[in-house]
Symmetry: C2
Subunit: 346 residues, 2 copies
């Protein structure tokens, strides 16, 4: 039993018929005697036969029934949820997922895209970094005629479907909310790498400041990273600098939680001294020590729509309709971390 995998050849030999008969029988195609068909199926089962999808795909230049998903990471934020929803939408249609993480590294990103193309994926769902190498990768995808859907982030220069969140408005609303509470020195904790999302949120933040008549200073944007630990570090840096902000608008929830941790540790009251707002409104934020104000993002919708857009392109490859763009609405969820008015009991 140590020998290699069973092929239809083995089955054919065992049943004393030709390859084609076996192929037809197993595919459920017409043109095989019922009795023979049963026997073939039984032998296949016994021999532990598993069809070789790659040979199949090669033989009829058909599809691998596999799609690539390229995301920055899985550690925090909404990507696990998005991914889960992509998988739930795709797997009932027979597609499986080749997962790639870029960690926002453009070089790895290019490698990952190449790896997907080499593996003959039928389509790609992608959250790109916003750098030159990304465009190169995008062009490679398009050259191969491979359907592409941008997820959460996009490359403006590339014509492809996209499912996005209205990051600009989300950030605008969040900043506006802080201004409405009377805060004036609002700092923005941002990621190190530039992405579509980072840019849009920054734009929203800046626009709200401008509309609120607040003069902006360059030091107010701190490019520190996007994980919880960066929130802690960033907040410490901020407190040690002479900036003395009265509010922090964070690029995402982990940053905001990290900021809150540092503030709590150093005995600075949130929101009384410094208000904090996050982005994504992941479940944890509701039950956080200081319930976090955050911009809700429809992670489920992101995953579902991306999968559906890709499916429509894959099912009908001739679909030559121009790129579609779906922009999901955000929704500011106000909780304790940003409400100055309401004092805390105790």
């Amino acid at each position: 039993m140590d020998s290699n995998k069973t092929t239809i050849k083995d089955i054919a030999a065992a049943c004393g018929v030709s390859l084609m008969t076996v192929s037809r029988a197993l595919q459920g195609k017409p043109g095989v005697g019922l009795e023979k068909k049963r026997k073939i199926e039984k032998v296949a089962e016994t021999l532990g036969y598993v069809p070789h999808r790659m040979a199949y795909a090669l033989g009829q230049k058909s599809s691998s029934m596999t799609v690539g998903v390229v995301i920055p990471q899985l550690s925090n934020t909404i990507f696990p949820t998005i991914l889960q929803n992509i998988e739930s939408s795709l797997s009932p249609n027979g597609y499986r997922i080749l997962l790639c993480c870029t960690y926002d590294n453009p070089i790895k990103e290019f490698h990952e895209i190449s790896a997907l193309l080499e593996r003959q994926v039928d389509g790609i769902i992608w959250s790109p970094v916003l750098e030159e190498d990304s465009e190169k990768a995008a062009r490679l995808i398009l050259e191969q005629n491979c359907p592409l859907v941008f997820l959460d982030r996009m490359l403006p220069s590339i014509a492809a479907d996209a499912v996005l969140v209205d990051d600009f408005t989300g950030a605008y609303d969040a900043t506006r909310h802080l201004l409405d509470q009377g805060m004036r020195r609002i700092v923005h904790l941002a990621p190190r790498t530039e992405s579509y999302v980072a840019r849009e949120r920054r734009r929203g933040y800046l626009a709200a400041l401008a509309d609120g008549g607040v003069e902006f200073h360059d030091e107010w944007i701190l490019k520190i990273g996007s994980e919880l630990q960066h929130g802690r570090e960033g907040m410490n840096l901020l407190l040690n600098s002479g900036l003395s902000p009265d509010a922090i608008f964070c690029f995402n929830d982990p940053l905001a939680i990290g900021a809150c941790m540092t503030l709590t540790e150093r005995g600075i009251a949130v929101p009384e001294k410094i208000a904090v707002v996050g982005f994504s409104a992941t479940i944890e934020t509701e039950f956080a020590q200081i319930p976090l104000t955050s911009v809700f993002q429809d992670a489920i919708g992101l995953g579902r729509h991306a999968a559906e857009m890709l499916l429509s392109r894959m099912i009908n490859p001739e679909l030559k309709i121009s790129p579609r763009k779906k922009i999901l609405k955000t929704n500011l969820i106000v909780r304790q971390s940003s409400i100055k008015i309401q004092g805390r009991s105790c």
Copy 2:
């Protein structure tokens, strides 16, 4: 440019050489004139050539450089972290990940395993459900001679490598901790589906109760599910039943957080009236409204070790050493949600 993907045939034609020359040149194998080689590489680049890994694999019965990862879900708990660490360990070695979720459904699980085998994965990392269909799937994998590593959960009847957590001891310690605080009516919120992990944690819980001389009642185990909402529901059910527990040992953190939410909503003090303990000690639990006592699980180690074990088997397929089992230690992290002694200020 709408035509199909470039093949080495196209390159050969464009350069006026044979297929083999192109193949050799692109593989960096010896036996090609330097000048020709350069030209071929350039043409390949220009034509947007992407090697066809599946044809390659087919041609030399070599590997697809792809491994399957089968997990229950991505929504909560530690699986995103595990997955991320698998990816970080595998991708530098050239392997990519085919991701499958079972949602603890044995039927889907079998489909997913088949899908992976059809796609010729070089190995599988798998968190199985503990039911008959799982064994069938496991046998299929072994029949194909496909390296297999169990992750976090295992099938005792199947001989394969496994990376596990010492769930028994973790659960024992957690329950013991509650008993030490003087609690006697300790309820266990458990998932609906039976898995290795569910069984081990239940065993640990029961053993601690027995060692503590506490008489156990069947109603103390509530099989409700494994997500946050189930924690909420479960806690409500519990409160409405006449059980009046003084502590809850939860199968995982989301359940525990959910339970805490319900308790808070209904004005029942945690830990004064009812103590709560979770399992996994994910980051959120530290900054939860009521910092949660939980059993730390080394998610990073789980991912890393699983990847490494699989790598060693894939690199040397002849490796006939008997199944290895790596059991990672747990560590009880005591926080506010279970400490009766320390009263809360306020």
